[in-house]
Amino acid sequence: MEFLQHLAFGLGVALAPAQLPLLLLAWILGALCGALPGVRPVALMALLLPVTLQLSALASLVLLAGVFGGVQHGGLVRATLAGTLERPPGLLAVLGLLRQRQWRLALAAAQLAPLLAAWTGVLALALCSLWLNAWAQQLGAAESLALMLLLLVGAVVLAPGPLLKALPMALLGLLVGLVGLDTQSGTVRFAIDLPVLGLSNMHGIGILAIAIGVFGYGDVIHRLAHPSAPPEALAARTPGGAAGAPAGPQAAAGSRPMGPLRARLLSSLAWLPMLALGLPSQGVLALVAASLVMHQIPLGARMLDGRPELFWGLLASLLLGNLLLWLLLRPLLAMWPGLQRLPYRWSCCWAPWGSTAAAAARSMSGCWGLPAWPAMPCAAWKWSPRPCCWALCWRR
């Protein structure tokens, strides 16, 4: 019962006028982006990151979670159309009902199955993270440090690509996090006489610049430079591949595509390590973590304690978003062929536009860091910037 009360509280928060329009916008935008062949969700979310600075922590969480969830479902639509999923939703269950001659029930089940699967996933996420949180509450300082080290190692090991590149990237993230004022001794470190990096900037190099540069710009530049590059495997972006089981995204991506029901069921569970322990299991979630860090929200177990409205609001927004996309599935399928004709080269304008305008309004120093980073051609060379970004999240 207490659980239902909490969920009702979350629904109230997510349906508040400050959050609802963002929720609708984010899920639709994400679904469109997921259905398009060229746009990568990580790039889209990195470029949305500065916008979240203007919003409250809850609203930005709802926005990013919506884009993430929408992308997963959009990918599902694309995969359905491309015929990579082996059977239409819920066929087996429906066949069973048909065999028992329960026609009306079969029809309802076929239509409701995707939604119910998604909702079951969200509820499983809620229960699992509550349980993990209760366990994480009992940890002391020593255990927390051990857990942090474990997570750092986890971020390196879970990153796609070879270990010998993920590890230096994590180190680089830690080093970049050291630029600026050292709060222990008051020394200004690595400022190379630039006021932007020195005393005038108390927070060092922002995670915003790194995230946009390596996730957003790198990807956009790479796509523009190689327009004929084959689109990444379809399975990589359907929930079965990209979200996968939290423990083994690579293993999930390598296997054959999952059925849509199972994919929907698992699509929310990608949040579990992030909500319970503060370990983002994918690049997209590392960006969510970055957004939370920018709002000075503690990651992991302390979030549920200190800011319960974030946790329950997020869960409720996942429930609502899934409902929305379930309602929108048919129009989305109809729009898909038209969407494919939008030229990707337009992105060379929208990328600088969105990120700079938002950063400029906050502080100019934030946006000068941006152009320095795409020089690291991460996207092109298949090494993941995730450990770097993630290490920055944890610097204090």
């Binding site: 203007q54 680089l172 050291l178 050292d182 523009l224 430079a225 060379c348 100019m364």
Partner: protein, 161 residues
Amino acid sequence: MHIKNEKDLVCGVLFAALGIAFAWTASRYSLGHAERLGPGFFPLLLGALLTVLGALLVFKALVFETEDGGRIGPWGWRPMAAVLLATLAFGALLGGLPHFGLAPAGLLLAVPALVLLAHAAIPMAWQESLLLAALLGLASYLVFCALLGMPLRLWPAAWGG
């Protein structure tokens, strides 16, 4: 010496160079002692580790055979220049450069400059650029000014208003 993996070689050199730069700079700060570590200790340690890992990557690139030689392929200079220059120009026009005495010029000039730079670097039809400029301008106004209420200038202060 024959290079067996170009990408790894460049990565390794880049990491090693960054590690050396960080470690060398850190060595000029106080290292402190075992009881109270100074501001230079942690970066020196990390920089040294980064250098070692970079060197390992270089070693791997020179010794271990790969199938395709890890070719880097052509650089996307044009898109890179377009995206970076467009960002710089847009930021400078929108927010101004107080260091150089450049006042903010506002959205009305910044958006066309952005599209113009992109047009120069990436093949686009003129009609397409115009359409894009109009869309971006409208979207900027709606999202940043109307929806988010950000304090952005629409046109230069010299034009009045």
